[in-house]
């Protein structure tokens, strides 16, 4: 028999979360996924889900948000990784199977995956 989900379940989730004192690894990171028409057509929805899966699997805290078309449509799906004090890195043509490596190398090991980078903005600004 199928589990019936209801809003009641949320009460329990809320209570459990308040009791949960385990600190998730906060990387102070913002991940921005292009979600304009070009991004969506190129598969950005799937890429974003892969990113959320990977963050959940590795228990990493990062702020995932979307942005519209920035003009380099042929490079979509685009994924920006922004960390305080570091250059903002734009990865291009990011397909779901590339996400694991980007999260591991860039967020965990602190090493930019240069082969996939299509843009770099210095920490000082534009």
């Amino acid at each position: 028999m199928a589990k019936i989900k209801s809003l009641e379940d949320l009460k329990k989730i809320r209570e459990d979360a308040q009791k949960d004192i385990k600190v998730r690894k906060d990387t102070g990171t913002r991940i921005i996924v292009g979600m304009g028409t070009c991004g969506i057509a190129a598969g950005a929805r799937e890429t974003m889900h892969a990113i959320m899966e990977e963050l959940a699997k590795r228990e990493i805290e990062a702020n995932v948000t979307t942005v519209g078309c920035v003009g380099t449509c042929v490079k979509e799906p685009l994924v920006d990784i922004e960390q305080a004090g570091k250059p903002r890195i734009t990865y291009g043509n990011v397909h779901p199977d590339m996400v694991s490596k980007i999260i591991e190398e860039h967020l965990i090991n602190g090493k930019v995956v240069n082969e996939w980078v299509v843009g770099r903005l210095d920490a000082s600004g534009i």
């Binding site: 199928a2 019936i4 809320r14 979360a17 304009g36 028409t37 929805r45 995932v64 948000t65």
Partner: protein, 192 residues
């Protein structure tokens, strides 16, 4: 696009760009009437009559990065190719309503596709600076699945939707709701 749910995600993004704090998405499947309609209504900044007239022009956009805006034109073309069409109603300062209709059984009508992933993508992205509550309703003949992020947030009392357990709950909640609207009468589970 391969799925209507991808077009829908595209149009929902327009509402966010327009500064909407609320957006309502209704998917209506009328099998006897052979009609599928998608309606997105928002309370964003809206458009004046001139902008509405140009909304489905691929070379019209309010974006600064390019001179091309394809979201509405692509959906409009898809609808027109399926014996339907797209209308845009808007009032400057109040909001916009986009309605796309299709002949449900048209051979060229793209499947609705993974609407769950579209809803999750919209609802789970961090929008602290641009919070946008979603009201969703999917009707297939006499069955309806509906939910609103406002009610969900009220239950969570501050816990973010992106919390892993909430995210998992949402994924299953939507999957179950969507499966129910497509079940033939005889198989509908009883009870709550």
């Amino acid at each position: 696009m391969r799925e209507l749910s991808l077009h829908i995600l595209d149009i929902l993004q327009n509402s966010v760009e327009a500064g909407a704090s609320q957006v309502a998405l209704t998917i209506d499947e009328d099998l006897p009437g052979d009609r599928l309609s998608v309606v997105v209504t928002d309370n964003g900044r809206g458009m004046d009559a001139g902008q509405v007239a140009r909304a489905t022009d691929p070379f019209f956009t309010t974006r600064k990065t390019r001179h091309v805006g394809l979201g509405l034109p692509l959906l409009s073309a898809a609808a027109q190719h399926c014996g339907g069409g797209l209308t845009v109603q808007s009032t400057s300062g109040a909001g916009t309503m986009v309605t796309a209709t299709f002949q449900h059984s048209h051979i060229d009508r793209a499947p609705l596709g993974n609407i769950r992933d579209t809803l999750l993508a919209f609802v789970l992205t961090d929008s602290v600076d641009r919070p946008c509550e979603l009201s969703y309703r999917h009707r297939v003949d006499d069955k309806t699945f509906a939910f609103g992020t406002a009610e969900i947030r009220a239950e969570l009392d501050g816990l973010p939707l992106s919390h892993p357990q909430v995210r998992n709950w949402l994924r299953e909640f939507i999957a179950e709701g969507e499966a129910e609207v497509y079940k033939p009468e005889a198989e509908t589970s009883d009870g709550g």
